[in-house]
């Protein structure tokens, strides 16, 4: 099918030798101007094509009310907006060559307010999948897909190193393959928690908390593969399915009561998508698992900080869990919890979802600042105006993402980023002074 923009008629071209405004010569591309462009054709093929894709159906339903635009995090830093996307497709653009295709983080805030339930969590992956099939993918994202394909993680590290963090945990972390018996909790550690240095801090903290609570747990170690949910939302359905098949095969090898995961994206995949691929079981995000147990934790010190909490889109808005992380934070001695203006259902996306984690370079050309930078400014205004505050998180994408944003917005030393498990772990240690 064609990719042409709507037929535009240019009635008149004004060509100036010199363009002078208020006495200043601004010659350049201002010299050539068009007047009275009339649309002569509305090609409907693009909308027919999108809505013909499985998942693309709802894009047609938009009635242009515009409620989505003010709540779209990307609109806050650029001109992208879900309503405008509908207009573009309706005018003949199938988005395959349009940067807009890669700007949506599938945060779901537009869907929350949409009276027609136009759902980018479905239509974005559907259109992106077609771009993936054509090999028409931004290079940095293509590299991550390749890593996932070859190594089963987005970082491109060896799967054999997936449990290397265990060495510094300070407590034994049993491998399910080695203990040879059923366990209560199979702890799915997740990609960033396993490989990223800042993610590993959360993994070690979690290991110590589980041990202190006397939980019967084990990890998959080298057998664990990426949940690849963000790759799925970025259009790599085939890759997602391949890794899901591997994980499901591994899950079936062992007996466990429930799966506890660190990454909300993995939580979303296991809870909402894996059932379609034949695996169903109890899945808990770590905040949900720990919240009912928090009274059993013996705290030995007070953290004494102002804390705000960033709701991860795939734990909060898209999966409805707002309370468990807050219950944990409120139980930690010395935490003074304050809410940012955008919280809970209206939480502001960090920019990392739906493939955004691997598109920062590409996205930078189309936005005035990163979503993580905007979020960090909001956190600073909430908890760090008179000294030091903590931005607490519950998604392994975020410590490194927000720490970069703290630096780039000049807030180094003012805002500290901590996973909730890191704060719990800290308060479980005796005061250091």
């Amino acid at each position: 099918m064609g990719r042409e923009l709507p037929m535009m008629k240019v009635d008149r071209v004004i060509e100036l030798e010199h363009a002078v405004v208020d006495g200043v010569d601004i010659s350049g591309h201002w010299n050539r101007m068009f007047t009275d462009r009339s649309i002569e054709e509305y090609p409907t093929e693009a909308m027919d094509w999108v809505t013909g894709l499985a998942g693309g159906e709802s894009l047609r339903s938009c009635y242009q009310c515009g409620k989505c635009v003010p709540v779209c995090p990307v609109n806050h830093v650029g001109s992208y907006g879900p309503r405008k996307l509908h207009v573009k497709v309706l005018r003949g653009n199938n988005l395959l060559d349009d940067p807009d295709l890669w700007l949506c983080t599938t945060c779901g805030n537009c869907l929350r307010v949409c009276p027609k339930e136009v759902n980018p969590l479905e239509f974005m992956p559907a259109i992106r999948e077609q771009a993936v099939l054509e090999g028409n993918v931004p290079a940095e994202l293509a590299k991550v897909f390749e890593n996932l394909q070859r190594q089963g993680n987005p970082h491109g590290h060896s799967p054999r190193k997936r449990a290397d963090w265990v060495a510094d945990a300070g407590v034994p972390v049993p491998l399910i393959a080695e203990i040879g018996r059923p366990v209560d909790v199979l702890w799915y550690v997740s990609d960033y928690t396993s490989y990223h240095p800042r993610g590993q801090d959360a993994a070690r903290a979690m290991a110590r908390i589980l041990t202190a609570l006397g939980i019967d747990f084990a990890i998959l170690g080298n057998e664990e593969r990426s949940d690849a949910d963000s790759a799925r939302l970025a259009g790599e359905t085939g890759l997602f399915e391949m890794l899901a098949e591997q994980n499901i095969k591994t899950f079936r090898k062992y007996e466990f009561e429930r799966l506890v995961v660190m990454d909300p994206h993995a939580f979303n995949a296991f809870k909402n998508v894996y059932p379609r691929h034949g695996w169903e079981g109890e899945v808990l995000h770590y905040t949900q698992f720990l919240a009912p147990l928090i009274d059993r934790i013996e705290f030995k010190s007070s953290v004494d900080v102002d804390v705000t909490y960033h709701d991860p889109c795939y734990l909060g808005r898209n999966n409805g869990e707002f309370d468990a992380p807050r219950r944990l934070l409120e139980a930690i001695p010395g935490v003074r919890l304050a809410e940012m203006p955008h919280n809970k259902k209206n939480g502001y996306c960090c920019g990392g979802g739906g493939g955004g984690m691997w598109l920062d370079g590409f996205v930078a050309d189309h936005v005035s600042e990163r979503l993580s930078e905007r979020r960090v400014r909001e956190a600073v205004e909430t908890v760090a105006m008179d000294g030091t505050g903590v931005l607490s998180v519950a998604c392994p994408y975020e410590p490194s993402r927000f720490e970069d944003a703290v630096k780039s917005t000049g807030n180094d030393g003012r805002l500290i980023v901590r996973d909730i498990v890191e704060l719990i772990d800290q308060a479980m240690q005796p005061a250091t002074s």
Partner: protein, 355 residues
Amino acid sequence: MSDTVLVVGGGPAGLEAAHAIADMSARAILVERRAVLGGTPDESSYAALTPRMGSAQEALDLLRAGVQDPNVEIHLETQLTACSGSVGNFSVTLEGPAGVTTETVGSIVVATGFQHFDPGRETQMYGYYEYPDVITLPDAEKMLSEHRFVRPSNGEPPRNVAFIQCVGSRDRRLGNEYCSKVCCGVASKEAIEIRRLLPDAKVYIFYIDMRMYGYWENEIYWPAQEQYNVNYIRGIVTEIVARDGRLLMKGEDTTMGRPLEVLMDVIVLSVGMEPSRGTRDVAGILGVDQNKYGFIATPGDPMDPVGTSVPGIFVAGAAAGPKDLEDTMSMAGAAAMRALRAIRGQARAEVGATR
């Protein structure tokens, strides 16, 4: 075999139906939950009627006068609590100040009306229960019926007033997929009244589509725009936050394709219609089908707008879905006629059967 018609609900539809039945020399029992007749227009202190700006109170007085008729037996503070039987011979139980009574009626007209959408159910963040200066169409109506329009927070006249359309209507997420039909006209009418009271105030209406059918186009929409300088802006607001003692409204101006962040003093939510509690309860008691929104279903639409799923039971007004007063009056007359025809047709059938 009874030749009496039970009319449930003493709002415009019920009053007009009871009056029409009496006018056709039959007997009506009119049952009303409240202590006064007049229904929602009375309870919510409607000011002027759309589109011709006549007094709502005068119109209600006329309707009330219409049931001052020996053929109409009025039961106030009374509710229908049970019903059995079938067309020609329904046995209905009424509970009121006189205690529990049972009546036999030949047919029934349901006129139990609507309720205004509760903005606490919004998916947007309009803060109706948070900010005193965020009000609804009926809240504005109450002020206008007292010939004033002020900021509820401080009693001062507003400089900027915004209406937000489609609150609680046309929304799959809320389950109210239908257009509530009257809100575009009522908002425009209130905008005119505000401009008459406060010539210095700027009044804006933020809309998705202005749905001004028939004469409402030229009788309300055009005068509001042309004579009263009401500003119509396409695009719906998503969020309202307090800013410097005023209300900052965030949305998108979809014609311009640009975000809007405008300070307002009063924001009026154009809330739509939902079935009233009475409509839901009475539908259950009578065993008539409701549509997916809880309004009473009219399976014979479009050729029969008043027949329900039960022979001998008819519906008039907003109990059957969003209606303006013109629809309501038309339906009330039609329901009255059909209710009598049901009884008389039944009577003829019974006479024929005994021969």
